[in-house]
């Protein structure tokens, strides 16, 4: 059993079965593409990002985290009309960061999860906009009000989804 120690507390490392590893990210991308056609407000959420953060924090492996983020992001990019790699790079960074923090912090309680999701959502946005504007020169604009609403909405939804996904975790 791989166990790391942080501030004297034991931090457990989890793993997931292959079906869960493949199907949960696919389902997240699929729902993200399908639900907004029926519930327009759902476009505010970013289910693939929440799944990336969850897997990264649970596995607590930086390589696994960044690869998961990279693959989910590229899949998400493929469904948009924008160049492939915008979400890929953003989620790679988030996956790496979330797993790095997962090693050092207790990310099992709801409050910590809320704040971490809020933080990583903002990081994700900043990386995304940075690349889109200054690397690819896409004509996209930033709306503080909308992004703030979106960040809090995703943080709330994240706490709920993490609780559901906790049931799929297996101790390593």
């Amino acid at each position: 059993m791989a166990i790391t120690y942080t501030s004297g507390e034991q931090v457990e490392v989890y793993r997931f079965s292959w079906p869960v590893t493949i199907l949960v990210p696919l389902a997240a991308v699929f729902l993200q593409a399908w639900v907004p056609t029926r519930l327009h407000f759902f476009a505010l959420f970013d289910l693939p990002l929440l799944v990336t953060i969850f897997f990264a924090m649970a596995r607590r492996s930086q390589i696994a985290g960044l690869l998961t983020g990279s693959l989910i992001g590229i899949l998400q990019d493929s469904l948009t009309h924008q160049p492939i790699g915008l979400y890929g790079i953003s989620k790679t960074v988030v996956g790496y960061g979330a797993s790095s923090l997962g090693i050092k912090l207790d990310v099992e309680n709801a409050g910590a999860r809320f704040l971490l999701t809020l933080f990583f959502y903002v990081v994700h946005l900043m990386v995304y906009f940075g690349i889109a504007r200054y690397l690819v020169s896409l004509p996209i604009a930033w709306s503080w009000q909308r992004q703030l609403w979106s960040a809090f909405g995703n943080a709330f939804l994240g706490v709920v989804i993490y609780t559901l996904l906790d049931r799929l975790k297996q101790r390593a």
């Binding site: 907004p36 998400q76 469904l79 160049p83």
Partner: protein, 409 residues
Amino acid sequence: METVLGRYKNLIVLTAVLFAQILGLAVQVRRTTESESSSLIRVWAVGAVTPFEKVLVWVQTSTGNIWHNYFYLRGVRAENRELKLEIERLRIEQVRMSQDADQAHRLQALLAFKEQFISQTMAAQVIGSSGSEQSRSVYIDKGEKNGIKTDMAVITADGVVGKVLHVYHSTALVLLVDDQSSGVGAILEKSRLQGILRGTPAGEVVLEKVMSDEAVPAGERVLTSGGDRIFPKGLPIGTVTRVSPGSELFLNIRVKPSANLGKLEEVLVVTTIDERQAATEQSVPVRAADILAERLPTVPPKAPDASNATPSTALPSGTKPVPGSSVPASAGKPVAKATDAAATPGLKPKSLTPAAANGASPGSPKPAVKTTTTDAPAAAGSSPARVPQKAVKPAVEPKPQPPAQDNPQ
């Protein structure tokens, strides 16, 4: 060396993955400037996700159809009655509109205007979206195998939706008009000011490039201008909701789209747009002298009772007196118009009936008009979607019938 690699393994992998993706981005950016082609990853991703979306939409539609068609039939009779009344009302309106359209056609022909007609559309169902706030686009269940091509206009009965951006084998990606990268040539219905319609990060639609010294009232309709060569001219886009001073010299005009972009279920893809010059009815040039001869009071044959006829009651040849209508007080008025008409080839003399020359109001009874109109396969609900195949064959009847009694066919 091994220790260093082991120590910084995570960072090295992170850097490698990021570098690979940035390289991929650079390649794509270069490729989009040359020729647009769908990458293999995109084709795979769309191929993996859209079948599930199609199945879900099919299940949802089937369930809804069973419920609505076999169980939930409350109020159907009343609705049917209302719809029949609506059809009657629309038929009457259609006659009036077709007459106006015919008149517009004649004028356009005189000015050698080229018109764009939606001659063929294809119905498609929305099966999914891009799932991103930064990419406002939807997937439809028609693709390359159905004849869909990039840059085809996508509309609903309410108005413009967007254009086809990427085409796959059995699906296509449609860029919505409220996306930040979209741009639609637009014109304000009354003031005829032109601008470019774009989306904002908040999902709103704004009309740009309208000078700030222009007066644009809220509530004015926005139509396609046809300048973008994608959307035919005259399709409804939306309504102006708010006007405020914008940056530099331009107004900031907010537009509410006519089509409900948040709840798209079925759309029409405009597969064929015909561009042709409005045709006149008479291809053979008419001499001015003939028109004048036709319009001038006829000389009655010498008959025993010929002295009873007075010039004031004489009518142009080929016409019969209209009961209740007064003959022009000055015979010179229609003649003067006829001269103008003769100077312009193609202008038909039918508009120069005595009633017209008298300045008959638009609401007055009009001559019966036979119109042959062929609907587009799926009419978009707007006037450009109706394709007048052959124009009007006027027949001045003895008793002009009110439009309500005319048969449009």
